[in-house]
Symmetry: C2
Subunit: 274 residues, 2 copies
Amino acid sequence: MAVEAHVAFLGPAGTFTHEAARVLCGPNARYDACSTIDAVFDAVRRKDAPNGVVPIENSTEGSVTQALDCLLAGDVRIAGEMVLDIVHCLASHAATIAEIERVYSHPQALAQCRRWLAANVPQARLVDSPSTAAAVRHAAGDHRGAAIGSRFAAALHGVPVLHEAIQDAEHNATRFALLAPHDAARTGDDKTTIAFAVHDERGALLRVLEVFDENRINLSRIESRPSKQRAWDYVFIADLEGHRTDGNVARALTVLEKKCPMLKNLGSYPRFRG
Amino acid sequence: MAVEAHVAFLGPAGTFTHEAARVLCGPNARYDACSTIDAVFDAVRRKDAPNGVVPIENSTEGSVTQALDCLLAGDVRIAGEMVLDIVHCLASHAATIAEIERVYSHPQALAQCRRWLAANVPQARLVDSPSTAAAVRHAAGDHRGAAIGSRFAAALHGVPVLHEAIQDAEHNATRFALLAPHDAARTGDDKTTIAFAVHDERGALLRVLEVFDENRINLSRIESRPSKQRAWDYVFIADLEGHRTDGNVARALTVLEKKCPMLKNLGSYPRFRG
């Protein structure tokens, strides 16, 4: 995908977000690691970088709420998406697994590999790291240590991969969003993410879903988030099939503009086909 | 509210959950602090404690997804609810604010008071703690230190409150669930929490919402969570007005049992009126 060659991403170097960004924006772009999701949005908003990449949803953990809240708060758009299978590797300079005394990783990655670790590296102490990428960097300097991280991070830091796909669960994938000041042009196989509020009355959400159904629009996802305006007041975030310029989507959005107290386009973008 | 006098809660002693549990179960119950939400559910499931209390939703941050996933996974029920305004205090043994060199708290509480801290305690270093309750315990032993925590935690640890309600946002409340092996009897002013899945087809969620509307049932909240069965497969969690034994709710649930590939009652309980 040809995009401008300067990309802010959730770092440090070697994260799954970095890997997703490289797939979305190519090997020749300039990549700037940001320490938080907010900082990636800020970089795009302030035009420090024309593009950003952040995780927005995990198939097991659910939405990355910080990313959704940043999308709701600002005027940055989704211009692309990418789904990455989360495959954890054991990377170490140790010659054999028996030599490993410490396993570094992010607590979530350690948890996702707990059964494999107990069966295969029972002697090792588990050490929390701020990210899988940081864990691999750490293992690069500890020859009795190993890290759980991606093959990409292992390659980046020159640490040999001893075992691949050590995660306990079969299905673990993360969806990443390409951020930009504007969304993407129509390709004919697109998705649109919108946010909307409903009036506080019985059947209010139903009336909105009816508009999609009448226009033969499929919702691939719907989420609710606190509005941050009033306590216990929600906004919905929905992924629709189609581009906002497609006839049926455009018609539905025109109706919803009158029906909803708030409607916001968060971006139309080509659907990812893995 | 009269419940059995032994309650597992998300600790340590002095958390907002502890405070909510005391309101729900009274001052004379025996309280067991658990270190994780999973551990509270486990205590109720294994009948180590007849009741548990966990946070399930914050008015700004949204759902406590760990609590929702535990509800979905097991057969523990919601038997009550309680909403607590989150009011942060500055607690310290220092005689004046000018003497404070360190402010301890959970990163989220520090973030929620950032503007007030910058204006009033600009000289202090901010130090992360695992909970607001742990921060207050820490400040009890550091006379140049202060903690951000609840008035309840300050009283529990004997630390004077120097300032109350120092959070930047006006509205910040958390909803807590009382957990039990069985849900609560009908009172006439109840709520019911259910989980359901829909078939993967256009309008599937709409058809479910129609059933509620036809039975004049108001949904006060609807959320989606990953099913953990298949990637990108979701279940919905909804709060309904009414008890599951109310005629209209019972009728709707009977219809949904046939319509939905999965339907689970997570509990009926008296609605909290603050």
